[in-house]
């Protein structure tokens, strides 16, 4: 346990010490919020609420996209934080860790928690923008969603750990992750609904953990009970996979299993003696 905490704490300490990175990591989601939330919201609303008729006035794109952008931030930060593994290898510190008696699962979990904490902190900071965007979520729902954000971030950093263990160079890692992160965002329902897609895209949506993350975030944050059915539809509050309605509980379980599997895979990669 001490090992997990030490590895976790080191990554957090370094995150807060690296001012450039700290600043840079906020610009991207804020930019997205400005573009999608401000500039494009009119267009998106007309597009998405087109066939809604009367209730169209109730549909607010910013309310739709905000949980999506928070999820996106979690995705980017979680996955990219795994870069610290490659850096640790390059700068030799990974040897100090690997040659110590810290169990391999503690190393994997410590690294996962480190990246996930950084991502969650960033996501939570975005909540500070809620009043400025003219949104009003129930504060209790917002609090409730934070532990889930951490879980989601764990799953996504697990993905980062997997890539980091397969790819040796920093550039290679950044390229691969960039290529993978884009479809994961666009095919998750974070920025626009993912209904009526061609089959192969549908398949990506189905296996994409971000889909379930976004689903839970929206359902917890948005006041589902007082949302008209058409608006709920347009907001993508109802997600179905293989003709089955996905419940919030089901989605949480999916993410949990995903996170555990990736933690085990990362443990395995740390256990190979040749590091």
């Amino acid at each position: 346990m001490e090992g997990v905490l030490a590895i976790w704490q080191r990554d957090i300490t370094k995150f807060f010490r690296d001012k450039a990175r700290l600043f840079g990591s906020f610009t991207m989601p804020v930019l997205f919020l400005l573009i999608f939330g401000g500039g494009m919201s009119g267009t998106m609303e007309t597009m998405m609420a087109g066939n809604m008729g009367e209730t169209a006035a109730d549909f607010n794109y910013i309310e739709f996209v905000f949980p999506g952008i928070v999820s996106m931030t979690l995705l980017m930060t979680s996955v990219f934080s795994a870069l610290s593994i490659i850096e640790d290898k390059d700068f030799g510190y990974m040897k100090e860790i690997l040659v110590s008696p810290v169990s391999r699962i503690s190393i994997a979990v410590g690294k996962m928690f480190g990246a996930a904490s950084v991502a969650t902190i960033q996501g939570v900071i975005l909540f500070a923008l809620i009043p400025f965007l003219g949104l009003s979520y129930d504060p209790l729902s917002v609090l409730q969603v934070i532990p889930f954000m951490f879980l989601l971030a764990c799953a996504l950093s697990g993905l980062g750990l997997l890539f980091a263990s397969l790819i040796r160079s920093t550039q290679g890692f950044q390229m691969t992750v960039n290529i993978l992160v884009m479809p994961m965002i666009f095919l998750s329902g974070a920025l626009f609904p993912v209904n009526n897609l061609p089959g192969w895209m549908e398949a990506v949506v189905t296996v994409n953990p971000v889909t379930y993350g976004v689903h839970v975030m929206k359902n917890v944050m948005v006041d589902v009970e007082n949302t008209p059915a058409e608006v709920a539809e347009a907001m993508g509050l109802n997600l179905s996979v293989f003709g089955q309605e996905v419940t919030v509980f089901g989605a949480v379980v999916f993410i949990l299993i995903f996170a555990v599997l990736l933690a085990l895979l990362a443990t395995k990669s740390f256990s190979r003696a040749n590091a």
Partner: protein, 311 residues
């Protein structure tokens, strides 16, 4: 008494290279054991296998009685490592590097502060405790790594080329620390180096070349095996001089290295005056010395290369 490190039939084969070819040796408790060999001899590969970082292709290793392939964590607790490359986190302070190390090794909380002060004092870094490691000189970083390696009171300390890239003064200083450690803490030390003079401080030296150990013994014994003294001389015409030497001298080994003639004799006193008289060519440089490990290494590798038919 059981040896601190026991290595039996250890091999490591990479795709194309046989980096280590079936070596066996023991390291006794409390001794400084030196691994000496040129670049690419397989020293780092051997050290990495002994300290659980690299899976051997075959062979057995026991440290402190624990099997390296089966009881990794027991082994890891028993050893400290100073790697060939830096493994400090330079973005953190010295203090932070040491604190994290204590936590990785489960050093009890109530002794951490005391130990940190102790190891910093050993390497003279008490003043720099709260500075970032990136502001340290190469020598200071090396010393900090040694301090860190001692924090958990390892039974064996591995030092892989601990002085590489340091200036001669810092090197000498670092060896002082290492010897002090051996004297004060009685730690078993396993070190690799390709500086021959550094290997001299070892209690025993294993000479490694091309993945094989070609000799293991006390440095003095290895040198004694060569026997007598070495006379180095240069002349205006080395070829002519060599011819004359071969004519006049029977029981001496003569070799040429970089324009200098080396003659090994049992005793230089009796030999030198008559020898010089017998030479018709003026001598431009003359030096008489005892053999060093350098001569030992040349003797061994020279013979090896000869046997392999490379020359």
């Amino acid at each position: 008494m059981q040896a601190m490190i026991e290595v039996r039939g250890l091999t490591k084969t990479y795709k194309e290279t046989d980096a280590v070819k079936g070596i066996s040796f023991d390291v006794e408790e409390g001794e400084i054991f030196g691994f000496l060999g040129p670049n690419g001899a397989g020293k780092s590969t051997t050290i990495n296998m002994i300290c659980t970082m690299l899976k051997p292709t075959s062979g057995d290793i026991l440290i402190n009685g624990y099997d390296v392939s089966k009881e990794k964590n027991r082994v890891r607790e028993s050893i400290g490592l100073i790697f060939q490359q830096n493994t400090l986190d330079t973005k953190l302070t010295a203090n932070e590097n040491l604190k994290f190390h204590c936590r990785f090794y489960n050093v009890p909380k109530n002794v951490r502060e005391e130990r940190i002060q102790e190891v910093l004092a050993i390497v003279d870094l008490t003043e720099s405790r709260y500075s970032k490691v990136e502001t340290f000189s190469g020598g200071m970083q090396r010393r900090l790594e040694i301090a860190r390696g001692l924090l958990h009171y390892p039974r064996v300390l591995f030092l892989d080329e601990p002085t590489v890239g340091l200036d001669p003064q810092t090197r000498a200083h670092l060896w002082e620390y290492i010897l002090k450690l051996k004297k004060e803490q009685g730690i078993t030390m396993f070190l690799t180096t390709h500086y021959l003079d550094e290997a001299e401080i070892s209690d025993r030296v294993a000479i490694m070349d091309k993945g094989q150990i070609i000799a293991v013994d006390r440095p003095s014994k290895l040198k004694d095996q060569l026997g007598g003294d070495i006379i180095e001389l240069s002349t205006n015409d080395n070829d002519q001089a060599l011819k004359e030497i071969h004519e006049n001298v029977q029981d001496a080994e003569v070799t040429v290295h970089e324009g200098t003639i080396h003659i090994k004799v049992a005793s230089s006193d009796a030999f030198i005056s008559s020898f010089l008289k017998s030479l018709s060519i003026p001598v431009t440089k003359l030096n008489i010395r005892k053999p060093t490990l350098n001569d030992v290494f040349m003797a061994f590798t020279g013979r090896n290369i000869g046997e392999a038919g490379d020359i």
